[in-house]
């Protein structure tokens, strides 16, 4: 979504795809042009579905033969029954939702597991732009100016962990990626991830 660098984008998607068990049922919320869905269909043989807000995105996905519904993550997840999917994925989208907590709770209701990847607002580049320049940060992974961004709810890795604890979601796996797409030290403490992770990927299940 917000990623412009195809290299960074691919690594993020690959990491998400690796977390998905082959042959499972997957719902990608905010699937954009269907890049992840196509990757999952090709490499993991999944029964993949998507929801996307933009008409162009959906039309493109359907034209590519993907099962995608035009809809809004903030309102339409309630239409799905409990345990409808093995995985519900929110890739680089949580910051664009109106009610991230509600969306996350819905994901854990309709999916046995949830995978969330998001840009870390606690990354040192973000912090330093605010701190030294006194301006809203604009980076490779978040290229929008404050006045035309679809992103309304930024969070840091630490914030996200707090939200998981609040709603009782269990963190099965967590990976932080640096700006180049490399993994941030696996055994590093949260504060280190929070500072040096440009983006994070979490695999959650109901607690």
């Amino acid at each position: 979504m917000a990623l412009t660098d195809p290299h960074t984008s691919r690594i993020d998607l690959k990491l998400v795809a690796e977390m998905v068990t082959p042959g499972s049922r997957v719902l990608d919320v905010g699937c954009g042009d269907g890049q992840l869905l196509a990757l999952l269909a090709e490499t993991r043989n999944v029964d993949a579905r998507g929801i996307e807000l933009s008409r162009e995105g959906v039309a493109g996905c359907v034209a590519r033969g993907l099962s995608v519904i035009q809809g809004d993550a903030d309102t339409d997840l309630t239409e799905y029954p409990d345990d409808a999917f093995d995985y519900v994925i929110l890739s680089q989208t949580i910051q664009a939702t109106r009610n991230p907590r509600f969306v996350l709770e819905q994901m854990l209701r309709i999916g046995r597991r949830a995978i969330i990847s998001f840009p870390n607002f606690g990354h040192w580049k973000m912090r330093s732009q605010v701190f030294f320049l006194g301006r809203m940060p604009v980076t490779e992974s978040l290229p929008y100016a404050w006045w035309d961004t679809p992103n309304i709810h930024f969070c840091t890795i630490r914030d996200f962990v707090t939200l998981c604890d609040t709603i009782g979601a269990e963190k099965e796996r967590a990976v932080a990626l640096d700006a180049a797409g490399g993994r941030v030290g696996v055994s590093a403490p949260w504060w280190f991830w929070n500072l040096f992770g440009a983006q994070a990927v979490f695999l959650l299940k109901r607690g």
């Binding site: 029964d47 996905c61 995608v68 519904i69």
Partner: protein
């Protein structure tokens, strides 16, 4: 012009002996209708395009809308014009007849060769008229199923259609889920709205108010309620368009004159356009058929057959669905399509949905809409890969 029209088929003859393929059924295959009547002698007229493959797995059934017919992609014998969906169906088109075997049948209650009120009642030797049993969408689909059986096709690769055709698509998927691999309902709804019933009632009352309608027995009397049917069509035609489309086409432009005549002549272009639409419709469509088929749409409420829960209509379905609506369609608005999609989600079905940008109103599904073509092509292509064809 007169030479050309001389080669055109007689609409009255078409009702019994269509210039297309026709499957006739006798007492061993009666058509059991929802109203309780069973037809022992009935027929269904159809057209096919392309070739059925050896596995009989590439058949697409196209369902026509209210005033359509079986001539989806071939010259209409009554009007002499091309088929009603030639933009969509044909060699290399989104519904590719080089690849798929396309079937389109005239609906029960219609007037181009499938048994309906203009057909001859074998018991009386006279046209059925209002003696014809009331038709439902499910009856139409049941009749199509008999046709598909007789063609030796177990599972349809896809059932596709817009508007009333879309209703049939949904009914097919609900009635015979194992026999529909993919479903493409366009610009449609799982139930006919009160507003749409209201529009239909105005049309029917226009037909019945015409003195030439004669209580439905006009064919015996050698008359036709042309004025009433024409008015019904004019009213309906407005509902198929949108204000931007009408405005772009006609605005307030005058027809062949510089100033208004201060009379009730067709001063405005939009008036003469509607009059033309009404008149040309009368030539090809039977007034009683119009009453029956509009009624069938009015009665359609798929959820009502399943305790009012639409999702139950699709419980356990394996069919792959692709639903599409148009932004300017106020007759079958996007909310109707969303209701279908929500029910399919709740049933765990595989479903795609897109609201396509168009200012052409309900009729958009019949027109050159590149986004609709891309969606259809992509959906059918992916489904064909999954089906191994």
């Amino acid at each position: 012009m007169s030479d050309f029209s001389a080669s055109l088929a007689d609409p009255l003859k078409e009702a019994n002996e269509p210039t297309s393929a026709v499957a006739r059924f006798g007492p061993d295959t009666p058509l059991a209708m929802d109203c309780g009547v069973s037809l022992d002698h009935w027929q269904i007229a159809y057209q096919t395009y392309g070739v059925l493959n050896e596995a009989r797995s590439n058949a697409i059934l196209v369902c026509h809308a209210l005033t359509g017919d079986q001539h989806v992609a071939s010259r209409n014998p009554i009007t002499g014009k091309g088929g009603w969906w030639t933009a969509m169906v044909g060699p290399g088109k989104p519904v590719d007849t080089d690849r798929f075997f396309v079937i389109c049948a005239n609906v029960v209650g219609g007037c181009t060769g499938t048994t309906g009120p203009a057909s001859t009642n074998p018991e009386t030797g006279q046209p059925w008229g209002l003696g014809f049993p009331m038709v439902t969408i499910r009856d139409m689909v049941r009749a199509q199923r008999h046709l598909i059986d007789s063609l030796g096709i177990e599972t349809l690769f896809c059932v596709a259609g817009g508007s009333m055709g879309g209703m049939q698509v949904l009914q097919w998927a609900a009635s015979y889920p194992d026999r529909v691999f993919a479903a493409l309902p366009l610009a449609t709804a799982a139930k006919h709205s009160a507003q749409n019933i209201a529009f239909h009632e105005v049309g029917r009352q226009a037909v019945m108010a015409d003195p030439d309608w004669r209580g439905g027995r006009y064919l015996e009397a050698g008359t036709r309620p042309s004025k009433g049917l024409s008015v019904a069509r004019m009213g309906a035609h407005i509902t198929y368009l949108s204000e931007p489309a009408l405005h772009r086409k006609f605005g307030r432009k005058l027809q062949d004159r510089e100033a208004p005549t201060f009379s009730f002549d067709a001063d405005f272009q939009v008036e003469s356009y509607l009059r033309y639409q009404g008149l040309s419709f009368v030539e090809r469509f039977d007034a009683n058929s119009y009453l029956y088929v509009t009624r069938a749409m009015d009665y359609f409420d798929l959820a009502a057959d399943h305790d009012g829960v639409l999702a139950k209509a699709f419980a356990g379905t394996k069919t792959r669905f692709c639903v599409a609506s148009f932004t300017s369609d106020w007759l079958f608005p996007t909310a109707d399509s969303r209701a279908i999609v929500h029910a399919l989600n709740a049933a765990g079905a595989s479903v795609s949905f897109v609201e396509l940008e168009s200012d052409k109103g309900h009729d958009a599904f019949l027109l050159e809409e590149p986004n609709l073509f891309a969606t259809t092509r992509g959906f059918l292509g992916a489904a064909a890969r999954a089906r191994g064809i």
